[in-house]
């Protein structure tokens, strides 16, 4: 029983990180119909920046905030300098550009910071809470991870649902041409979407870094799981991304705990296949519009 509780709590904590990675992908997919395969590279770079600051003696929270802000700027730059030029081009172009950026970033990071993974400190203690004499596999740092991801998801939801800026962003995502005809500055909205997505990605990066270490290729699996979670949620739905992340985190935690960690990646693939077979549009896909 303790084992089950441990695996559940652990699943929620890792699931929150997958949820953040999934959110980063979903925000961009919603607004541009691009799966940002470069997201793993982008959050790797911002986590490296935080790591470099920490090595230089900066306080943890300074490094944390700098990572998030650099993610914001990085996302805006990628949109403005690369993706903006692909509007109207075949979808494959964006896929290839995103992959190209990923390879470029990973190679550049290796040249600057080296290929040996470095450790990264957690924000809070990783010593599990003790309940009735037993120590749980859930620590203050896990609480922080879950709260940070839920808070950012909530803030994004408020932005999208409750503000006129969010209304403009949603209009841009659903119907860019109509949005322009209504005076929405579509370019600015797309840039903001990329910036926010990359910010959430950076958050996932610093949160996961203590367990995967920081290296050019250390974040690839997070993106694969994030992508799986996003597809489970329907790729279009921020709520779906969060739920998908948590469900995937739990499922993989049980598989890893009861069957062995060698099966975890395979299990993610099987889950993805099952979701695509049973509900190809995802668990939280928006219903088809009524055609007139």
């Amino acid at each position: 029983m303790t084992r089950f509780v441990d695996l559940t709590l652990n699943g929620i904590s890792t699931g929150a990180i997958y949820a953040a990675a999934a959110l980063a992908l979903v925000i961009i997919w919603r607004s541009t119909r691009i799966v940002n395969f470069a997201q793993g590279g982008m959050l790797m770079v911002t986590t490296f920046i935080a790591s470099a600051l920490l090595s230089a003696g900066a306080a943890y929270w300074i490094a944390f905030v700098v990572a998030l802000v650099s993610g914001l700027v990085f996302g805006a730059l990628v949109e403005r300098l690369l993706m903006r030029h692909l509007i109207g081009a075949p979808p494959l172009n964006a896929v290839i550009v995103a992959f190209g950026l990923l390879i470029l970033l990973e190679a550049a990071a290796g040249m600057i910071w080296g290929n040996t993974p470095r450790s990264f400190p957690p924000a809070f203690s990783i010593r599990g809470y003790s309940v009735g004499g037993t120590r749980l596999l859930f620590a203050p740092n896990d609480t922080f991870i879950v709260l940070a991801v839920l808070a950012s998801a909530l803030l994004l939801a408020l932005l999208f649902r409750r503000t006129t800026l969010g209304l403009r962003m949603r209009a841009t995502a659903f119907a860019p041409e109509v949005a322009r005809l209504l005076g929405v500055r579509v370019g600015g909205m797309l840039m903001l979407g990329w910036a926010l997505a990359s910010l959430v990605g950076s958050l996932a990066g610093v949160l996961v870094a203590p367990s995967v270490f920081v290296g050019p290729n250390q974040f690839d699996t997070i993106l694969i799981f994030g992508f799986t979670a996003a597809v489970m949620g329907g790729l279009d739905s921020p709520v779906g991304a969060v739920v998908g992340g948590l469900v995937l985190g739990l499922a993989l935690s049980y598989v890893g705990g009861y069957e062995g960690s060698a099966l975890v990646t395979l299990a993610a693939l099987v889950i993805l296949l099952i979701v695509l077979m049973v509900r190809p549009r995802g668990l939280f896909s928006t219903p088809q519009e009524r055609r007139v």
Binding site: L167, R170, A175, R180, L181, L182, G183, V184, E289, R290
Partner: protein
């Protein structure tokens, strides 16, 4: 013609490799409705898109209240008071009725028309304010897209096939409304229609396009009376 709100001269625009608009001159005054008629592929939609900036004109000029729109981005042209209601109604189906309406006036900030006024103009929309626009009927969607354009208080309104796919009764309601809006709000309206009869019934003037060129123009009454023109281009 100093009080012309919308004026094009020698406007040329392409749709893919096709020269869809081939030297169009037209003038619309405030309070007037000009119908743009012609068969499918005559260049009507491209003409509107070239005016609102969605398609970059190859040559010629578009002026709004005397000011050239050459090379301007769509969202800037909107801010000068031109509103284009695209074909297929262009309501954003994933947003609610009210969100669609609000969107039309965001750029005007506090000067936008209150959505309450739109609900008075189109009472059926009020009941559906919280529903996704995708659940509206064809006629309601048309009301919504026109209403949404009005929220930005435009001076020039471009309407692309507002009666497409609507029942005749609903379509004639929409047409009468367009007429009323033009007269009451001094809007210059460019009304693209395939249904020439119902468009000319409410328009002041009409132009007939064929292969991107104006083949006939005149007062609405003149065009209706021209038997040859009706048979050749208007199909009624």
């Amino acid at each position: 013609m100093s009080d012309a709100l919308l004026q094009t001269e020698g406007l040329i625009a392409e749709y893919g490799p096709v020269r869809a608009v081939d030297g169009v001159d037209l003038t619309v005054h405030g309070g007037r409705v000009t119908a743009v008629l012609g068969a499918n592929g005559a260049g009507k939609t491209t003409l509107l898109r070239a005016i609102s900036g969605l398609v970059r004109a190859r040559a010629g000029s578009v002026r709004l209240d005397g000011r050239s729109l050459a090379g301007m981005a769509v969202e800037r042209i909107v801010r000068l008071g031109l509103s284009h209601v695209p074909e297929g109604r262009g309501v954003i189906t994933e947003l609610t009725t009210e969100e669609n309406l609000l969107l039309g006036g965001l750029w005007r900030r506090r000067d936008a028309m209150p959505v309450e006024e739109i609900y008075e103009l189109f009472p059926p929309l009020r009941e559906r304010r919280r529903q996704p626009a995708g659940s509206l009927s064809g006629g309601e969607r048309q009301m919504l897209s026109i209403g949404r354009a009005l929220v930005g208080r435009p001076r020039v309104l471009l309407l692309d096939e507002p009666s497409l796919g609507l029942a005749p009764l609903v379509s004639s309601q929409i047409m009468r409304l367009v007429r009323r809006l033009a007269t009451e709000r001094r809007l210059a309206v460019l009304l693209v229609e395939q249904n020439a009869r119902s468009a000319l019934a409410v328009a002041d003037r009409g132009i007939v396009l064929n292969l991107g060129r104006i083949v006939a123009e005149g007062d609405a009454a003149e065009l209706i009376a021209d038997e040859d023109l009706r048979q050749a281009y208007l199909g009624f």
